[in-house]
Symmetry: C2
Subunit: 209 residues, 2 copies
């Protein structure tokens, strides 16, 4: 789930400085891991398979990552960071809380549609008890909704319960997109955004245009 | 998830007629099974434990149920039937599609709040690959939403995508109710009903009162 409106510098999660070569190599390995998990599942994604896909030796992966847990943790963190950045960039230009909410919802649906391997890998990792850092998506959505209320754009409601409902609606998106090939992502994004726009806006406020 | 607005006769799922005593005994065993699963989990809910809770012999369970699969299947079917009946009764008296939608949403939240053992058992059964019959909750909600559109109460939207969103929102209810003890079920029901009322009703339509 998106970490809303927070765009972090690219390497904030790294503890120590790494050379350009080192970072490029790690990124290459992570990319191969995503594709391998998406193709053969979490359980079968061994260093050997990932190395074969990357065209390097398994020993080189071991040089960069202490073990599967560290690699998988990096995979999950990278996927989430890229998703957050993409959605955050869409929302950052919004001129109102309502527009930001639409941008977040639309951004998430489009991101899912365009990054199937990443979303599938993330689900595989979570489903297999992998080291997925739990970001508090509900808490972050609730904060955004509360801000919109305080600025008078949104009606009165429980920010937590609305955030829970929105988060549940977003979590249902990937399965529908991937299991029904005829689903139109743009239409889904628009429907979902309209649903929550109507749910949160103050009575009497109408969207222009 | 509720099988919306369909209230079935009590014993429709039974293939052959059973005596009153036999049905009472089966209901007693099912009740003990629900409580046992809720207490010790699916894996540990053996005939021996269920029998102990019911105060009968394990052999008597075997007389009534061919095996754990049949018993668990009956448990899941009974829970769903009772839930559907409770929600259906609330919705049946509704004078409009909007009122029926509110009744279904409110009925589901209240049912979850008042039947923790059943909801927990149902989740345990599903999570452990037990024989839970897949009713098409999304399809049934979509049908109800489409009817409301055809009767001019609801605005234009994709019934399937709205039903997916509503179903996801309902599926998030039990965990929130059970994991946060301070959650007010009545407030949750009202918030959720208001969210979807606003999402589906036609522009210009306002709830009276």
């Amino acid at each position: 789930m998106p970490r809303i409106l927070i765009v972090r510098p690219e390497n904030e999660s790294d503890d120590q400085p790494r050379s350009f070569i080192e970072r490029a190599r790690r990124a290459q390995i992570v990319r191969a891991a995503v594709e391998t998990i998406a193709e053969v599942g979490f359980a079968k994604a061994s260093f050997a398979r990932i190395a074969a896909r990357a065209g390097i030796s398994a020993g080189l992966i071991s040089y960069h990552f202490a073990g599967k847990d560290e690699l998988i943790g990096q995979v999950a963190a990278d996927i989430k960071e890229a998703m957050d950045r993409a959605i955050g960039e869409r929302a950052a230009g919004a001129g109102s809380y309502l527009a930001a909410l639409r941008a977040v919802i639309g951004g998430f649906v489009h991101y899912c549609a365009e990054h199937r391997a990443e979303m599938y890998a993330l689900r595989e990792i979570a489903a297999n008890g992998g080291p997925v850092e739990q970001d508090d998506a509900v808490g972050q959505l609730a904060g955004m909704l509360r801000d919109g209320q305080e600025h008078g754009e949104f009606r009165e409601f429980s920010p937590r319960l609305m955030a829970l409902t929105l988060n549940a609606a977003l979590e249902a998106v990937p399965r529908e997109l991937y299991s029904r090939a005829d689903t139109d992502a743009a239409a889904y994004a628009d429907e979902l955004a309209s649903t929550f726009e109507r749910a949160v806006r103050r009575e009497g406020l109408r969207r222009r245009g």
